[in-house]
């Protein structure tokens, strides 16, 4: 194991962090929630910087980034609660990049449209509760026979949900959509496994970013706020919980990075590591957000304070990206082959 970042990786991380810091302040997160549920403005900035095409191979006009490098940007996005389908676009780019050929009508789809991924199989010709479904003009959808790209001109209406995102249902038997099959049969099954693994590793990194940010908020507030004439963080009952969180977050980050690295090195273990990573990151993020809220005392549940933004999104991200499906897959694997 070598945990040294290359100079290039270090620069990339810093530039992502700086970009989100500048383009996605918490006011933008609140504005998006109050208006269309996502941030077209931020999306444009990310597209201009080529970040939405990170996962696409260079031969197809993308950046050809390794999945590990993509986790850096996913973490920065999570840290700023970025209301855009960034990890979807990266996973979609990687999916298209793996195919031997892409039908002409969907070539360039990642750069030309806002693309989302339905993280569970199509059911009754519908993709339900698709994260960023109301932001997207195109969608990656699949079931056990096929992988599709679905396109439409008019936006799908947003379903109100707890985290105030741009969640929507996509009906595939609707006249206004055009579908293109990009994989069938055994290739479809293989591609959806790889897609799910990519999305799980990226989700894990996004959740790590959210958790780290919630921890920062809790550290700052408890160091400042005084009770019984001392800073709240000087109490061990507070400090030690934050220490446990910091530890779990570092571990979650390493597991997400290990999963991403392993997936790209064609190790069979990549798929199950991605499921492990997102399962652990989801629990860690929700724990971090909950603690952050709790340590803000009564202010924690006031809407004008930020902890509730993290609390709702930590739960929503895990549910919308179907983390439980990954956990279930690990549990099922244990009954079949005893694990590993």
């Amino acid at each position: 194991m070598d945990l040294t970042l290359t100079d290039e990786q270090r620069q990339l991380r810093a530039s992502y962090e700086e970009l989100f810091e500048r383009e996605c302040p918490i006011t933008e997160v609140r504005r998006a929630e109050a208006e269309e549920g996502w941030s077209p403005r931020l999306w444009k900035r990310l597209a201009d910087a080529g970040i939405t095409e990170l996962g696409m191979p260079t031969a197809r006009g993308g950046q050809g980034a390794e999945l590990l490098d993509c986790t850096f940007v996913a973490e920065a996005a999570g840290r700023h609660l970025a209301p855009v389908p960034l990890i979807d676009a990266i996973a979609a780019g990687r999916l298209l990049g793996r195919l031997e050929s892409i039908p002409a009508e969907v070539d360039g789809i990642v750069s030309q449209t806002t693309i989302a991924v339905s993280p569970e199989p199509i059911g009754a010709e519908t993709c339900r509760l698709v994260p960023w479904g109301a932001a997207a003009q195109s969608l990656v959808a699949y079931d056990d026979r096929r992988v599709l790209i679905v396109r439409r001109h008019d936006a799908v209406s947003r379903r109100p949900e707890m985290s105030g995102g741009a969640v929507a249902d996509w009906k595939l038997d609707d006249d206004t959509v055009r579908t293109t099959t990009i994989a069938t049969g055994s290739e479809a099954r293989q591609q959806q496994d790889l897609l799910a693994a990519d999305l799980a590793a990226l989700s894990a990194a996004w959740l790590v970013g959210l958790a780290a940010s919630a921890l920062d908020l809790a550290v700052a507030y408890t160091s400042e706020r005084r009770a019984f004439d001392v800073p709240v963080a000087s109490f061990q009952s507070v400090a030690h919980r934050l220490a446990d969180l910091a530890t779990a977050i570092d571990g979650a980050r390493m597991l997400a990075q290990e999963a991403a690295w392993t997936i790209d090195h064609d190790h069979d273990r990549g798929l199950s590591l991605a499921g492990m990573a997102v399962t652990f990151a989801a629990a860690t993020a929700l724990e971090a957000a909950t603690s952050c809220l709790h340590f803000h005392g009564g202010y924690g549940f006031m809407l004008e304070y930020d902890p509730q933004l993290y609390y709702r999104r930590a739960a929503a991200h895990a549910l919308l990206y179907r983390v439980a499906r990954h956990t279930d897959a690990l549990v099922d694997a244990l009954s079949v082959d005893g694990g590993n």
């Binding site: 963080a233 220490a243 910091a246 571990g251 979650a252 390493m254 597991l255 690295w261």
Partner: protein
């Protein structure tokens, strides 16, 4: 950044596995179970003969002046198979400390014997009245002609029953501030006035309380400068960080043994924890946490090898790995039914008693080497820079 193992490391791991398979025999294990002494003279000599531990030492002290192999792999693999490493590790810790702080004469007295695997050193830091607060040591060393006279008691001097030397932390200046009046000594265990009383522990491991009554130690056996014992001790404890992979390796080995047992029963159509979705879910949670523990430990080892002492990262690794191990042991008992109570040797025991033993043994790990509370203090005050409470 990469998560795979280098070719050199992989090769070393294979070599280590072969060595352990050959030397950690059923007979060695039985002897450890019977005596509670996790040291074996033949094993210690055999591992020393491989030259791994002393590779970096000067030739005149028994080394080869060569870059050492990745010893973290050795500690990890040894923990995985439950090798008798207590004496080897304690002695290595002291040898490395002597190499950094000891005089030429002391190096000469300690290192060649350690390189041959013929020296056992027990650690004498903790006392009956202080554990985590190591610097509160009350054992006193008083100046005498040509040396020092030690009086006091040390707790958990594991292996003192067979040790050649005890590494004793004693107060040499009672006027100085708490951390400035301490000195480390190497005391021959057969010196008149040293008395060893055995203590039995829940995990089956023997430890001791040792008493020191007017024990004379020559000036040559002072490690580092007088009254700078705290600095010397810090070097010694840093060494432990490099061996940290042993915690998750131990947990992984118990989990593997349990899964093998559960799978076997499942395959035979016998009741197994794998029959229950709830138990499987709990096993998956443990698998994930053990992997996280392994990664955090590997990070601490990685930083140690870079020469960057991983204070906070080391505490995170120790905290997470040991707490995970305990959670896992409780869970493995709970999902296994009453057979989990049966000991090694009972044909119906779970994984040949591995789970029963781990459940008793795991409790020491959140205590020894700095309690979880100490680790959380280090992480929160040094890592997160949270304000410290005023102490009395």
């Amino acid at each position: 950044m990469e998560f795979g193992e280098s070719a050199a490391d992989r090769e070393f791991r294979i070599e280590v596995r072969q060595f352990l398979a050959e030397h950690v025999t059923g007979e060695v294990r039985e002897r450890m179970r019977r005596t509670g002494t996790l040291h074996d003279a033949d094993f210690a000599r055999a591992i020393a003969a491989k030259g791994w531990l002393s590779a970096a030492w000067p030739a005149r002290f028994g080394g080869r002046e060569a870059p050492p192999p990745n010893l973290a792999i050795l500690y990890e693999e040894a923990a995985r198979v439950g090798a008798p490493m207590n004496g080897v590790l304690g002695t290595q810790l002291v040898a490395e400390t002597v190499r950094s702080w000891g005089s030429e004469a002391l190096c000469d007295a300690v290192l060649p014997a350690a390189a041959r695997g013929e020296l056992v050193v027990a650690l004498g830091f903790t006392e009956p009245d202080n554990g985590s607060d190591v610097a509160a040591a009350k054992t006193r060393a008083r100046r005498a002609d040509g040396g020092w006279v030690i009086n006091g008691q040390k707790m958990f001097t594991t292996l003192a029953e067979i040790a050649d030397l005890v590494f004793v932390l004693a107060r040499t200046d009672s006027e100085a501030p708490k951390h400035r009046g301490l000195t480390l000594f190497l005391v021959r265990a057969d010196t008149p006035g040293v008395e060893v009383r055995r203590l039995a522990s829940l995990g089956g491991e023997t430890t001791n309380v040792t008493y020191y009554t007017d024990v004379f130690v020559g000036d040559d056996w002072v490690v580092g400068e007088v009254n700078r014992g705290w600095d010397v001790l810090s070097t010694a404890l840093l060494f432990e960080r490099g061996a940290q992979g042993s915690f998750p390796a131990e947990a992984a080995s118990v989990l593997d043994a349990h899964l093998t047992w559960a799978r076997e029963r499942h395959g035979l159509g016998l009741p197994s924890p794998l029959d229950s979705a709830v138990s499987r879910h709990r096993l998956v949670t443990a698998m994930i946490e053990v992997e996280v523990a392994r990664l955090l430990s590997q990070r601490a080892v990685f930083l140690t090898r870079l020469g960057r002492p991983p204070a906070v990262e080391g505490s995170m690794a120790k905290l997470f790995a040991t707490e995970t191990y305990q959670r896992m042991c409780r869970m493995l008992m709970e999902v296994s039914g009453p057979a989990a109570l049966l000991p090694h040797g009972d044909s119906e025991s779970v994984a040949d008693g591995a789970v029963e033993h781990a459940f008793r043994h795991c409790v020491v790990e959140t205590i020894a080497g700095g309690t979880s509370e100490i680790q959380r203090e280090i992480i929160s005050r040094h890592g997160l820079r949270l304000p410290r409470a005023a102490t009395a």
